[in-house]
Symmetry: C2
DNA sequence: GTCTATATGCAGATAGAC
DNA sequence: GTCTATCTGCATATAGAC
């Protein structure tokens, strides 16, 4: 069988370049927000702006792919962390599963992935058509979190009077907004912030 | 004494127009994000784009003023809510003061003010020089919140192991991110969301 | 596949009439 | 003070050489 670009073991040169551009774009969007310029993305990827168009039809296409990969990455990290927690066959305590998800998502956004970071940072700024196309991805990731919350609620772990949608969105806000203020050169590590996020969201600031 | 533009009781026509432009800009930035266009702002204010320049030297100046007014508005609402709570001479329970601040800030962002909303939405997207100039305002509002938290911590109301900076930023994230998902036409009212925010931030989602 | 050079379009900004 | 018309600059996008 001849190797093709869809063979993940041996990506073509073109596929690797494409990946390099996406990496550069994620880093730029994370840092500069939605208005990051193609020239800067190209420079980071080690090429001229015009060359990007061999790999992507438009800036919008690039943005759309960053958003999609951003959610996919966060989703994958969260799912993996929970599967690790669950072990081979038994399902864990629903409260610990939620805590694990919060920690994993926060870490993904803070330091594990420029994609997850960029997604959190620019998702509110993209033009309507891109936002629309992104909704399906958001829904499936949201549904996963909703399951975690529903299960916990059913098990009686959560407050009875809680609106799960509002709770989920508020939690996402706390986690995603860290992209606006986290500074790796400062006192607080990503781990410490993730710990505080778990604590606040699950147990609150009050004693 | 001749009336001047600084006489707040009887603003000049020019001052009123300026205010109309700012209102329009706040509404546009809230809705469209940082990339809201001057033509749309002008249209909302009932004039042509070129006419804006009689009142503002540049788009950046307009943005900077929206940011400043956004924080000032949230600050004012929070302070007023807390002063009301405190009553004339006694200081209230530090926990109730925090809850009051959370509710007031969330309501400011959600429905009381396009300025507070716009500030929360675009603050992470503005170019470096505007962001720099905005830092002083952010610091003074942040200091106010820090006082609320410090007082509560000293009174033994908060978790002992809590990093107050991280806690404050996470709370801001939960509150400010509501601008990304709140939809007045849907099931949840601003009040319900504010209630849930108070509950999550102070007491957590878990029972 | 990437380069250079150039075209296109659009948003911000300016000038001058009214 | 606001209008219309126009200018400018910049970022995206295209064309053709290599």
């Amino acid at each position: 069988m001849v190797e093709t670009s869809s063979d993940t073991k041996t990506p073509t040169k073109s596929a690797r370049t494409r990946k390099r551009i996406l990496d550069a774009a994620a880093a730029e969007f994370r840092q500069a927000g939605y208005n990051a310029r193609l020239v800067d993305i190209a420079e980071r990827a080690g090429m001229q702006a015009g060359s990007l168009y061999y790999h992507f039809a438009s800036r919008e296409e690039l943005v759309a792919e960053i958003l999609q990969l951003g959610i996919a990455t966060a989703f994958a990290q969260v799912r993996r962390a929970i599967e690790e927690l669950d072990g081979s066959d038994i399902e864990s305590d629903p409260r610990r599963r939620l805590e694990t998800a919060i920690r994993a998502h926060t870490m993904a956004v803070l330091e594990q992935s420029d994609y997850a970071s960029a997604q959190a940072k620019i998702v509110g700024q993209v033009p309507p058509d891109i936002a629309e196309a992104h909704k399906a991805d958001q829904r499936s990731y949201g549904a996963y979190w909703n399951d975690l919350l529903e299960t916990a609620a059913t098990a009686g772990v959560l407050r009875a009077d809680l609106d799960l949608f509002a709770a989920r969105m508020l939690a996402f806000g706390a986690m995603n907004w860290t992209t606006e203020w986290f500074d790796p050169s400062r006192r607080l590590s990503a781990d410490q912030i993730a710990d505080t996020a778990v604590m606040m969201i699950m147990s609150g600031l009050a004693k």
